[in-house]
Symmetry: C2
């Protein structure tokens, strides 16, 4: 066991922005909430799965909705507490700890906020090893763990609990309720025992986010090339360097969808990249040809600062490096690719692991 204090939180949020692959919500607001919560209630105990009993029940906490809304409407925190407690009450068992359902973006730090307020520990694992736009897109689904009972709460005091026949139906109902709740809901779901999580979850992802954050922070202090530092901290590859020439956005059924277009600079002069996103970056095409797709991770880094840019932060004129890096091996199974492979998002291409395209 180790603790997440304010300093650790800073690094986790920084690293989570990279693992968010442009989405998962800007961790900034979540970080402010979690910091306030740590200051008030003390640091959060972080356990590895091995340090807990196999029978211990874990209930992840998260925000559901369009990240663009988060910026305008800050959660009040009671909602996430309501959601968490409602699941425990509904199941009728003691919940030992919470965890992240996605290690990327806002949802890496939302459970830190919840854990501090609830005075419960947090487990060092998640269900994605990154961020994904839909609720069923977690490694839990591959292992037959149900998203339900899910509890969804809003800042007014409404709570919705669902029992569904599969995790796709949970996504369908929960998305509608999220829209009704103002395009944002706080949720608790995917209750599972530690024994189940040892099979199903992606381990050590909070530590991974923290390590990435530390590396970036140190590189800044030591004035190293920030983009290279980020890329190396995730074992990533350069996909493109360019200037953003256009961004097309649409908010569709609670999702922030769109495409960013870039024209190459330096080694990429004369080439064009199209980056498609649905909350997260999904696929990149150079001159029309697919060069990287989900489930591998794509990050867009500010070329001067190395700062990862969220999909909602993409703006005309930004000079960026697009990097890609490997997803957890759990996503590369047949079942994993059926859940989050390129075809799920409408790209009729075979998934090719990023290191096969770019590695030696």
């Amino acid at each position: 066991m180790r603790v997440i204090d304010e300093a650790a939180l800073e690094d986790i949020a920084l690293g989570a922005a990279v693992l968010g692959t442009g989405g998962g919500g800007d961790p900034y607001i979540g970080k402010l909430m979690a910091r306030e919560s740590i200051r008030r209630y003390g640091p959060v105990d972080l356990y590895t799965l091995d340090e807990l009993d196999d029978e211990d029940l874990i209930v992840p906490t998260a925000m559901m909705g369009a990240p663009t809304v988060m910026v305008e409407k800050m959660p009040n925190g009671d909602d996430i507490v309501n959601a968490f407690l409602s699941v425990g009450k509904y199941i009728g068992k003691t919940v030992r700890a919470t965890m992240s359902i996605e290690a990327g973006g806002l949802n890496s730090v939302v459970p830190i906020y919840a854990a501090a307020r609830l005075r419960l520990p947090m487990v060092d694992c998640d269900g994605m090893g990154r961020a994904f736009p839909e609720l069923q897109m977690v490694t839990h689904t591959i292992h037959g763990i149900s998203a339900t009972p899910i509890a969804m709460s809003d800042e007014r005091g409404n709570t919705v609990i669902m029992e569904t026949i599969n995790n796709h139906w949970t996504e369908t109902f929960a998305r509608s309720v999220t829209v009704d709740m103002g395009a944002m809901a706080m949720i608790a779901l995917y209750a599972a025992t530690v024994a189940e999580l040892k099979e199903a979850a992606v381990p050590d992802t909070i530590t991974q986010a923290q390590r990435i954050g530390e590396t970036i922070r140190r590189a800044r202090l030591e004035e190293q090339d920030p983009v290279r530092t980020v890329r190396e901290s995730v074992n990533g590859y350069t996909v493109f360097r360019g200037k953003i020439s256009d961004v097309q956005r649409r908010t569709e059924a609670g999702f922030a969808k769109g495409d960013a277009f870039m024209t190459g600079i330096a080694d990429y002069e004369g080439r064009k990249l199209q980056l498609s996103f649905q909350n997260e970056h999904l696929a990149a095409r150079i001159d029309g040809e697919v060069c990287v797709t989900v489930p591998d991770l794509i990050a867009v880094l500010d070329i001067e600062t190395g700062e990862p840019i969220t999909t909602e932060g993409l703006r005309y004129g930004f000079r960026v490096e697009v990097i890609a890096f490997p997803c957890t091996p759990r996503w590369r199974s047949e079942a994993g690719l059926q859940l989050v492979g390129p075809r799920v998002f409408g790209y009729d291409v075979e998934y090719v692991p990023v290191e096969e395209r770019y590695g030696q």
Copy 2:
């Protein structure tokens, strides 16, 4: 206590079609389900509120959705059982009986089906004394009884439970989930004690429906004027006689909305009536002037048979008599009119009780 057997069911369904004021769903399909259920499990015990203990917990059962869908997609019955049992389990108390939340249309007989299958009694009261299109439009709301916990189930096995801050929010969330469930969901909600229902519910409405049904049935046997018989059985008034010249429909957010237009015959020659509906008939205008509105009841009767015509059954060329009759006094309070008065449905007119316009 008395029992609802097959014969009673027939009369209740017939009377409920009149109280449905064009909506509440065609009782026909619900009647078939309830009849099957009575044949299999035996007749249903019907209690008055006075025959039960004040502490007894009652959970109404109903169908939510667009009546037009019911005709194509018959509920399998497991859904209503799931919804009912989920509320009881969630509350953690024994439920004594079920009841109708609306006495008009399909939802007068859905609880008979549920009661037979669950081998539980039913209570002789409801929350409307008629049918209304939205979930918060029940006398329970006036008396501060919460619609939640509500459970909603579909025929696939999905169940959604909600705790909301008021009954309008329940309507909002439940409407979205109903659309996701295929525009139809079976629901259990408005759990209340007998003591609360003595204050809040409309009493004896199943008996009222049955009495109307009996009257119509006898009049048919005795070859009396069927329209006059129906009108007299509800203490109603003739508003118009005419031929349907046009029906405009739209399905909007799970509702069957529209207007029917009629040209007068006999005493009404040369005049025109416009009848507006949202699942139920809401208001009638003769030559542009409002002549009857919610919460009073409007029924459209086939001039030959006296059969009430549902909003989805309205067709060009039908010769009909439009009748109106008084709602329960509970709706005529200020709080009642704020919930179901004409202004709620967009008609900027004062409510005038039907007997003031048409009575002696």
